[in-house]
Amino acid sequence: MMILTDLTIAEARNLLIAGDISSVELTEAHIRAMEATSSLNLFITETCEQALSKAEKSDTQRLSGNQGKLEGIPIAVKDLFCTHGVLASAASKMLTGYTPCYESTVTKHLWNAGAVMLGKTNMDEFAMGSSNETSYYGPVTNPWQRVNEPTVKLVPGGSSGGSAAAVAARAVMGALGTDTGGSIRQPASFCGVVGIKPTYGRCSRWGMIAFASSLDQAGPLTRTVRDSAIMLGEMAGYDAKDSTSVNIEVPDYEAALKKNVKGVRVGVPQEYFLEGMPKEIQCIWDKGITWFKEAGAEVKDVSLPHTKYALPTYYIVAPAEASSNLARYDGVRYGLRIEGKDLQEMYENTRAEGFGREVRRRIMIGTYVLSAGYYDAYYLKAQKVRTKIADDFRNSWKSVDLLLTPTAPSAAFVQGEKINDPIAMYLNDIFTVPASMAGLPAISVPVGLSSEGLPLGLQLIAKPFDEELLFRGAGLLELAANFKEKPKLAA
């Protein structure tokens, strides 16, 4: 018997077109899956009723022969996107009750393509975190379990933890995430799904709650590379409402998958070899190299000398921008307000109460690095180092077309393990942050399991706006790895 929640988007699309299944059936199956996985705390808001009514419309639409590329496909949206009439919380107490009267550009594109929204997924508060433990709505549990310790709850990664876990748990067919320093790729790796952060400027940021404006990008999380290509194709595009979005035509990403990687030059950045890195990470990386070689790619070592500076640079730039972006949460126009004896006290009470600990910490860091007397030493310095990090990548494109690295330095870890050690937590993003700093597109593909039975991902990085090559490379990894495992806690 066909299990609808095990279908990929591409498979479901074909069955829907053939009339073998209906969108309502598909949506109902996923609503049941959401119920079955409710203990994972995947959603902040479920929109099942709207989903069903949209699914009905989709079925009618299909009969009329006029359908979008995602017609009738149920997906979830990270709760960082504003969608009309639905709570947009950013997983923060600060946005208690905030219901936008507008629709983000990216979600609007998806709905226009026929997609069905099942709900808004849980995440780290304001996308700040790598474990989905900073959410005001509680942590998300990774549907994967350690083979030997099945009762230990693992983190799904972050900040798009709810989206990655929902896709892995078969609660949704695909999900929207956002990536600032690795927030799509790292949870994709932890949850055994595909996640792509496109080039900065590829997707509109309009209507997406800002964390760090120069880094934030929307991207899809799906179970296959093809599904990511399909979703990104609908999400991407120029938007006059976002001054940083870039006016370049969106290619047919799915069509790019037909091409192989023969003759593609793949670089292995030497600085990504970390001392004390788990053997199994090294092992999957080696496998990846072999797969590319076997497929006729030309693999070579490259050097990105400023790699180790990317993380500290990120932890100056991102909090600096965040401290300013989050100044609008002041209890005046929307969201939480905690009264005080005067205006100042109202501000201070509201922001102390509304923001969680990690968010407050980052606002403090950001405020400090921008403040008089420290700006040059920290913020300006970091932006200069950032130029050098981007230059490293630019140099590497002279000799290679793609870069191959691990996505994360470990498999999913245990809830609570790193939450009180900020730096240990920040180190999760060590392989994902450099590409973010340079605005480059990067994808994570699940390629195997650790000895504990947890998924591990490899990352590919490409030149700006070369998502097509990224998908081709990811397609090769997917094919070669033949990763078919399913988490224990999936529906």
């Binding site: 009750g97 219901t99 009267c101 900065y200 400027g201 120069s214 006059a240 001054s243 940083t244 870039v246 400023h306 180790k308 500076y309 500290p312 640079t313 932890y315 100056i316 002041d330 209890g331 005046v332 126009r333 929307y334 969201g335 939480l336 307000r337 005080g340 004896k341 005067d342 205006l343 100042q344 006290e345 109202m346 501000y347 201070e348 009470n349 922001r351 102390a352 923001f355 407050r360 910490r361 403090m364 860091i365 405020t367 400090y368 403040s371 920290y378 300006l380 310095k381 970091a382 932006q383 200069k384 180092v385 950032r386 130029t387 050098k388 981007a390 900020p422 730096i423 700093m437 605005g439």
Partner: protein, 95 residues
């Protein structure tokens, strides 16, 4: 780089976040650790390097001067914790 509770107090004021005495100490030690770690950047020679302003190699796009937005005060104040006749209200500001 040692960050003491005085600096924390100053930043907290700038950021308009109330910080208790206990949190102040905690934050001071956390931020000290983080800035010690960040000090790594001093090793990078950034003489004559332009700071990055955007990863997008483009210049600002301009909008035509069309008045085509606004005119919906009820939606502007729809989520307000407190509003009177389409005004937002706050505790009285004394100048």
């Amino acid at each position: 780089m040692s960050i003491d509770h005085k600096i924390i107090q100053k930043i907290a004021l700038l950021a308009r976040i109330k910080v208790s005495a206990e949190e102040r100490e905690e934050l001071a030690s956390e931020l000290t650790n983080i800035f010690d770690w960040v000090e790594e950047l001093d090793k990078v020679d950034t003489n004559d390097i332009e700071p990055m302003t955007s990863v997008v190699q483009a210049s600002a796009s301009l909008r035509k001067d069309n008045p085509n937005d606004g005119g919906y005060p009820e939606r502007i104040t729809a989520n307000a914790p407190e509003a009177v006749e389409h005004f937002f209200t706050v505790p009285k500001v004394v100048e």
